[in-house]
Amino acid sequence: MVSRWMYISLVILYSFLLGPFIIIFMASFGANANLAFPPQGFTLDWFANVFETSQFIDSFWVSLQLALLSTIVSLVMGMPVAYALTRFQFAGSGLVETIFSAPILVPGLVIGFAMLNFFVLLGDMQVMTGLFIGHTAILFPYSVRVISASLRNLDPYVEDAAVSLGANRLRGFLLVVLPNMQAGIAAAFVLGFITSFNNVPVSLFLSGPGVTTLPVSMLSYLEYYFDPTIAALSTLLVIFTVVLVQTAERVLGLSQFV
């Protein structure tokens, strides 16, 4: 059923998907300060430049904190919602599901814009707080959905079993439900972290003086310089991402779930 020309289509697909990464990779080691192709010579200066550019370092920490904080909060708050949706039948569960999947349906740029206007209306608000709220809101769909899926795979009666054996509800949840959800939680965590860490549209409007996320500062760097520093930074980020995902896979066995 699979014929030769279909394999050719596979080659085309992958060169289109991954080609740009190879180009970035090459450019990040090229000695020329412009975007001429092919890159000339070899240098690590662009990588050095990444670490010397304070806006990248500062915004990296902002993005890291933001991603950790909003992912964890969206998980901690989203988990009970997922639990309610998968363990109870109730009037309004449709509404709850819609509300929690809505942030994925509304364009990110619009969310950022609407939130900025709303926060201005509310009055004094720290930039980081605004970013945190924005990111947490857009992560709910991921955390609720992924955790729900993992809860659906777990027999709801195991909690009753734990309780009938003498555990209280909370202990039953901690000892029986949580350990069985770890792959799901890890998947939701990695997914949420990456989504937040890479977000541009929401952060764009909500960034402010001294507090900018890494992708937004990359974007504004491009408004000032077209040099391979961005390529070097992108190469580092790809490595960071691969390491993150691989570690999650090794430690937590991500692929059982995803």
Binding site: Y157, A161, A167, R169
Partner: protein, 361 residues
């Protein structure tokens, strides 16, 4: 002296639509009592109320004279076996069984010996380090049993424990459950919708329908003498038709069978039936026989279909009281479809049930 007592239990999932209403039941110490009925009859609700997962609107649950009604489920000391087994997927067999003992803060060596003992009783000593996913369905069921009994609960509750097993294993497992229950002498409530299972395993059977008890009794008496139409249907009486009572004499009433009067045992909730009342007649397929041609001694019929079941043949016969299903020894005379036959009643195992209040009052 009842060990587990349920008094006037009322449970409703939705307001004003109680699933159980003033439901009462007693289980004797060491007894295995089955709750038998179709899905939605309230048997699982009863069981989950005893386990404490459902807080009743009203009523009382007593175990060994202690009031359990408001006690949280984790303090009840009840062993529970689930239809899905509900084993903890992340724990080994050993740790699954040890869970309840851990919760009771039993010392480590005692946990070890009790778990080992429990696993031995269900024949799983060699599987202690496996995860549930590495076990067969029957083995998982045994782990669930060991886990529920190792805590030496006051009452053991089993919720359709065999329905996820295939037929052969089911027979084996129910013997296993019965053996274990008797060995431990543990008071047990067993929920099932399978009448054969209930008959084979129980000391007593409670047939439930729509939140009410239809009949309580020893398996033999329920099997032989159902008291309501519902129970008779549920007990696998293959044939059912309605007849008019011609006369009543003490424990027997007479109805017409192909022009001949036949005398039947009867049961009525409303006292002795009057002649002229409508009676529901039940009999099993092997409690009638077929004769070739039209005979005055029985009911005339015509064979529609016959199927072969090893040592017996099953016929479907068209008669004036409806289509009847009748089993014959395969060694006996055979009838082809279309052939005229006479159905002979073996009335000692037939039963007449009168439920219509107005005609019997």
């Amino acid at each position: 002296m009842p060990y587990l007592e349920i008094h006037d239990l009322t449970v409703s999932y939705e307001k004003n639509k109680p699933t159980l209403e003033r439901f009462s039941l007693h289980v004797e110490q060491g007894e295995l009592l089955s709750l038998l009925g179709p899905s939605g009859c309230g048997k699982t609700t009863t069981l989950r109320s005893v386990a404490g997962f459902i807080k009743p609107d009203a009523g009382q649950i007593l175990i060994n004279d202690r009031d359990y009604t408001r006690l949280p489920p984790n303090q009840r000391d009840i062993g529970l076996v689930f239809q899905s087994y509900a084993l903890f997927p992340h724990l080994t067999v050993f740790h699954n069984v040890a869970f309840g003992l851990r919760m009771r803060r039993i010392p480590k060596d005692e946990v070890y010996s009790r778990v080992a003992n429990a696993l031995k009783m269900v024949g799983l000593e060699a599987f202690a380090d496996r995860r549930p996913a590495q076990l067969s369905g029957g083995q998982q069921q045994r782990v669930a049993l060991a886990r529920a009994t190792v805590i030496e609960p006051q009452v053991l509750l089993l919720d359709e424990p065999l329905s996820n097993l295939d037929a052969g294993l089911r027979v084996e497992m129910r013997q296993e459950i019965r053996r274990l229950q008797q060995q431990l002498g543990i008071t047990t409530l067993y929920v099932t919708h399978d009448q054969v299972e209930a008959m084979s395993i129980s000391d007593r059977v409670v047939v439930m329908n729509q939140g009410e008890i239809e009949q309580i009794g020893r398996p033999e008496s329920i099997f032989a003498a159902p008291e309501t139409v519902f129970v008779a249907d549920f007990m696998g009486f293959d044939n059912h038709f309605t007849a008019v009572v011609e006369s009543v004499r003490d424990s027997k009433l007479t109805v017409n069978w192909g022009g001949n009067p036949i005398e039947l045992r009867w049961h009525s909730k409303f006292g002795s039936p009057q002649s002229g009342a409508r009676a529901e007649i039940f009999f099993r397929a092997d409690n009638a026989s077929l004769l070739a041609g039209r005979e005055a001694s029985g009911l005339a019929g015509q064979v529609i279909l016959h199927t072969f079941h090893g040592n017996e043949l099953q016929y479907l016969v068209e008669t004036e009281v409806g289509e009847l299903s009748i089993k014959q020894d395969s060694a006996s005379e055979r009838f082809a479809p279309g052939e005229a036959v006479t159905v002979q009643a073996q009335t000692q195992k037939w039963i007449a049930i009168l439920e219509d209040r107005e005609q019997n009052a």
